[in-house]
Amino acid sequence: MTHQYKLGGRNIVLDVCSGAVHVVDDAAYDMIALFEAHPKAEVLRMTAEKYAGDPEVTADELEECYSQIEALRDAGALFTPDTFEPMAGDLKAKTAGVVKALCLHVAHTCNLNCSYCFASQGKYHGERAVMSFEVGKRALDFLVENSGTRRNLEVDFFGGEPLLNFDVVKQLVAYARGIEKDAKKNFRFTLTTNGMLIDDDVIDFANREMHNVVLSLDGRKEIHDRFRVDYAGRGSWDTIVPKFQKLVEARGGKNYYIRGTFTHANPDFLRDIETMLDLGFTELSMEPVVCAADDPSALTQDDLPVVLRQYEELADLMIRRRKAGKPFTFYHYMIDLTAGPCIYKRISGCGSGTEYMAVTPWGDLYPCHQFVGDEAFRLGDIWHGVTNTAVQSEFAACNVYARPDCRDCWAKLYCSGGCAANAYHATGSVRGVYKYGCELFRKRMECAILAAVEAELGDDA
């Protein structure tokens, strides 16, 4: 399977199954499109006809171009057949029973009242609650006990707003640091916060202990304050921006993300990215809102072309700023073409419900944070482990090849089948796909690969 596209003045050809990326001239671009469906003479004739007015495209050149395509095919870098399906369940089978990441819902409550919140203002459609140290400690023990030989363990402090339960967060980190050496583990913590309660104590702690911090900021003040308001309806932008700036400055280069949400109110989210850059932030993420289709903040079909154009303009901005010595990172455009994941990982789907689970303040286990509150998806608890094996099996069987819609998609080895929760909410099945999200993802991958191509070729070609 190949995927061809033109973007940023480049003709790009992806050989999906080998992972090869080629930058080609116009004649090669057309020839590759014809190559598999037509005999050589036909390909040469059709291409020659198209370029009849171009003196540089001679018969000899076309013959040479055809030979180059054949050589790449023979080297396994073009038209590589998809032979991966029998391996699709291997990674999950091999690591069955191993849990390596937990999303700890330390606070099912929030000090902001954002109407677009997927978690119903942090409550997950349930009662307000915070996690006790005892529950959190048992969750960490559960993770260690079930992590097999896996050394790096990921724990996200999530909510609601986790800093509403900051003392417990600190106690849990101290507990984890106390057991990790003997357990031969390395905890990597992430904190996702709205920033309202950040102070010097939080900054010191986060910069010492958190592998990553995710800081929620939607960009422009008027966009941010439209949704991210307190219970009195006051916007939070003025409060949090100086706190985020202070935290990031003190972070000394460690991982962080300014994470924004774009909605129907700002499909032109590039303006929000520019605001983040103007504020001095360089590690950026902007995500489409997750909400019901009838929610007023939901992205519409009319928003789609606007959003797709933003992604292209964002890639262009990123390339220009890198050349100007003012680079920034957009999380979705991070792609490591030479050292990315192996094929097993790429086809095995996300780890929700198997290697990754969410833990509620009461110690219940769910396949991921998006299923919390939906009792049908409760997997078990941290004392008894997974008892709902029927639901877990459904998640274990989720992979790229288990999703009929992914079968012929060129981006399947970049997304691994997408988000099970989005699929479930869009189609009623974790093996469906959220097609709107797929459209965005494919555009992001085209842009990410263009940026990677520009980084390698620069002005050379």
């Binding site: 999380y331 988000c419 070729l457």
Partner: protein
């Protein structure tokens, strides 16, 4: 004349040989967190194939 430039990439077919160690980060793609697709992850396998 060179019509095709090939960018350096990891060969996915080759990656099957020593792949599947499972040490890499979990790939949550939920947009309500910070969606981490497999594309923007690093391989953490210390035994991966040499090119």
């Amino acid at each position: 004349m060179k019509h095709i430039q090939t960018i350096k990439t990891r060969n996915l077919c080759e990656s099957a040989k020593n792949g599947g160690c499972g040490e890499c980060q979990t790939s949550c793609q939920s947009a309500c967190k910070t969606s981490c697709g497999i594309a923007n992850q690093a391989c953490e396998n210390t035994q991966k194939e040499t090119k």
